[in-house]
């Protein structure tokens, strides 16, 4: 089971009311390479991956949920108290007419989240390579969002999240090495 802790993993500060940035950040909320997809992907692969790497998948999945909460916090703060006019200027009027200021699992273009963003092949190498690719794609997405943002406080948190993708990618690469290594594998034929 999981417990909730009443804190963010990293402080999130936002300098301006900026619904346009919130729209871009939605990509990491309900997008194909976003934090929700990451958490669900790893959590679900755990059940069929060799025991040696179950701990890693569990822990990275858990950390991704805390990143999802950071992204939600950013979107919440960027749109809190924004007027319908500001929402409209940001190109979020079509979101607003259905959801008001509520968050929803969509990508930046407004496409709802789907389970087909994630994979579980049951083959440990295929699954871990998918995980490595997912981390690199999420890292790239953070780069492109930072390129579009001039909010220095927000970018500080986004750079933290980009760095986490790098560490996760390294750990998944190490997991592949662990599964390749046959020093401790019992050979039963």
């Amino acid at each position: 089971m999981w417990y909730y802790e009443k804190k963010l993993q990293y402080p999130v500060k936002v300098s301006t009311c900026n619904p346009t940035l919130a729209k871009y950040l939605t990509e990491q909320y309900g997008g194909a390479d976003g934090e929700l997809a990451a958490a669900l992907r790893y959590m679900n692969q755990r059940y069929t991956i060799p025991d040696k790497v179950v701990g890693l998948l569990t822990d990275i999945a858990t950390e991704e949920l805390s990143h999802l909460e950071m992204i939600a916090t950013m979107i919440y703060k960027l749109t809190k108290d924004a007027t319908p006019e500001q929402i409209k200027e940001a190109g979020l009027a079509d979101h607003y007419v259905s959801h008001d200021n509520a968050l929803f699992y969509l990508n930046a273009a407004g496409v709802p989240f789907t389970a087909s963003y994630i994979q579980a092949k049951g083959d440990p190498i295929a699954d871990l390579y998918e995980d490595i690719a997912a981390e690199e794609k999420a890292r790239a997405t953070y780069q492109w969002i930072i390129d579009q943002s001039d909010d220095t406080d927000l970018n500080d948190s986004l750079k933290f999240l980009r760095e986490r993708e790098i560490v996760h990618s390294l750990r998944f690469r190490e997991a592949v090495e662990i599964l390749k290594d046959d020093r401790n594998t019992k050979k039963v034929f």
Binding site: I146, E163, R164, I166, S169
Partner: protein, 74 residues
């Protein structure tokens, strides 16, 4: 020694409508060169600094945007 950014020159046609970006770059963060992290790597001095950097180990730290940004837009 590796670098965290690589550069390349895309082909430029006289028929390209936008002013050309002569040099493009892409990110090659340190984890690509580590393989399996060795034990006992040096750590950031304080927990606060590790938090700010997003990692405990300076050798895994990757700055963005590129701090030595070349004239990519020229």
């Amino acid at each position: 020694m590796y670098t965290q950014y690589k550069y390349w020159r895309p082909y430029i046609s006289p028929n390209d409508p936008c002013p050309p970006i002569e040099i493009k770059s892409y990110s090659t963060p340190p984890h690509l060169y580590i393989g399996f992290q060795p034990s006992g790597l040096p750590q950031f001095q304080t927990a606060k600094e590790a938090l700010k950097k997003g990692t405990l180990w300076p050798q895994l730290y990757s700055p963005y945007p590129n701090p030595q940004k070349r004239n990519e837009r020229s």
